[in-house]
Symmetry: C2
Subunit: 325 residues, 2 copies
């Protein structure tokens, strides 16, 4: 997979933040590696490959950033736990999709079969909560459990909606809140306790950039290019997932409403992508994502951040809509 020329949000932020942030991200990375290795073979191999394929570490970054430079051990634990839940959902998603590759590497299900992949996902879930089992951690457990329930509900909603070409934008956003935004929101509040108005401001920040993140994922699914995103165009369509570009395009190209998603092969999916792009729907959705990012940024006023810290948050938010994978 080709590296994007645009800097990853993580890199841009850690370059600016000073030593504390990269140091903590490294601690999280080390903890994740320990956990992956801590259950003997073959778990180490499966969990390790998931870990390596994990990507941008957006969620741990958010945990650490929102917890702040004064945060202690509990922020590391929270960042680790949230990435473990994220990894668990990736492993289970790949089981459902029988996905051969993720981020240029074979998936656990491809390497080890459905049974091992399913159990590996369960193990990662359980390890996430094990990570939070420390005195005074009940708020963290509550936040992560709530987010995990939302993830599962989002997955259920998406599978329920699969191949229904007439799914509404409202329903899409509900799904998106559950499946993507809930864990981003959790990441922003789980690393340190804060007074209520500040906590809510950070939660809203997480929610908005989570939605923006998903919207951009949808756009990239339609326009690619594959050599930058690392996956074929139209994967959502082949999966039966009606994403927002398709929903917005339906209003402009009525023929798309009566599309039979079940009949598509890879070639046909790419053609539908071209047709969606031709309506201008991807620009519309990208604009919606940017709006979300702006809303996320302006909401930070309530969070009582220093100008320097606020700039870091803004960089993360901008990074979400300026990426290719």
């Amino acid at each position: 997979m080709a590296r994007s020329a645009i800097p990853e949000p993580v890199t841009a932020v850690t370059d600016l933040a000073g030593a504390w942030l990269p140091l903590r991200l490294e601690q999280v990375e080390r903890r994740l590696a320990e956990i992956a290795a801590g259950h003997g073979e073959p778990i180490a191999a499966d969990a390790g490959s998931t870990l390596a394929a994990g990507g941008k570490r957006m969620r741990p970054l958010l945990v650490l950033l929102c917890a702040g430079r004064e945060a202690g051990e509990e922020a590391i634990r929270a960042a680790t736990a949230i990435e473990l839940v994220h990894m668990a959902t990736l492993v289970h998603d790949d089981v459902l999709d029988d996905a051969p590759m993720r981020r240029g590497r074979p998936t656990v299900v491809a390497n080890a079969g459905r049974a091992r992949a399913l159990a590996t996902g369960d193990l990662l879930y359980s390890r996430a909560f094990a990570e939070l089992a420390a005195p005074g951690s009940e708020a963290q457990v509550a936040a992560l459990a709530t987010a995990s329930v939302a993830l599962a509900r989002g997955e259920l909603a998406q599978r329920q909606d699969a191949y229904h070409a007439d799914v509404s934008a409202e329903r899409y956003y509900l799904r998106c809140r559950l499946k993507t935004a809930a864990l981003f929101e959790c990441a922003c509040v789980v690393g340190a306790e804060r007074p209520e108005p500040e906590r809510e401001a950070l939660a809203a920040f997480g929610r908005e950039i989570g939605l923006a993140f998903q919207l951009l994922d949808d756009v990239l699914d339609v326009i690619g290019p594959p050599e930058r995103t690392g996956k074929a165009r139209g994967a959502d369509l082949l999966d039966g997932t009606v994403n927002l570009p398709l929903i917005r395009a339906r209003d402009r190209d009525r023929g798309l409403s009566s599309l039979d998603l079940r009949g598509l092969d890879e070639r046909a999916a790419e053609q539908v992508c071209d047709r969606i792009a031709a309506t201008g729907a991807t620009q519309t959705v990208r604009a919606e994502a940017r709006e979300r990012v702006e809303r996320a940024k302006s909401g930070l006023r309530e969070a009582e951040l220093t100008a320097g810290d606020r700039h870091l948050f803004e960089l993360v938010a901008d990074g979400v809509v300026e990426r290719y994978s």
Copy 2:
């Protein structure tokens, strides 16, 4: 499925315990029903059918019994959480086995497909930890997370060993500790905090009856009868699972060592069951289970129970080896 004439352990114990125990089991039942119904359709239907098919509520019973009659709300929460984890593993197991029925009802995977069943299992896992997110609950979270990790490791070990007819008894017991005994052990310590020697005595009780429980499951898989167990004989063999009766039988009927489990159909599996039974291995394993139960009972001396309470524990332990499903 026919009801067994032998009293279920739960019934026998609740009849003797006095009102507090049935009352609390009912509270757990109500809480489980609330949770199943609390996420809208179609989750309610899937989780509800799992709940209804859940069976004996052995694990919540153990939680409540070990927590004692003075225990508070935290015992109800723990009993609910542990049953949710148990339900989650059943739903995921059925996905892997593509099982059509469990306890005479269609499974979630049969009703709703793999995708919904997998997400339902994840939801139940997450809800379990949500249940424990209360002040001072870190020991409970730790215990349940540890047990859940063990369950997943046990599942992984079992799948790794599948179709290996030469699996050793030691390896079998390791798997069994992870896949069955760990959650029983957790049930015995998660409902209330106790001083260390007492806690360890209850943990050992749970471990031993958990192992005995699994051994009897194995025996019932070989001898049935299906009209009492509610499932066909030889299901383990068809699944590639080398259980203890087969391991013990191998030593007496050498031909069983070279058995090719991959080649079996239902009829052939039943014939292998007959051959295992003919060696007397099922009596051997039943005797091993009874030994475990005796060890569990004699270990209770360390737990400082009243004579009345100790009798309840003994009834539960005996019930484990005197059941048909």
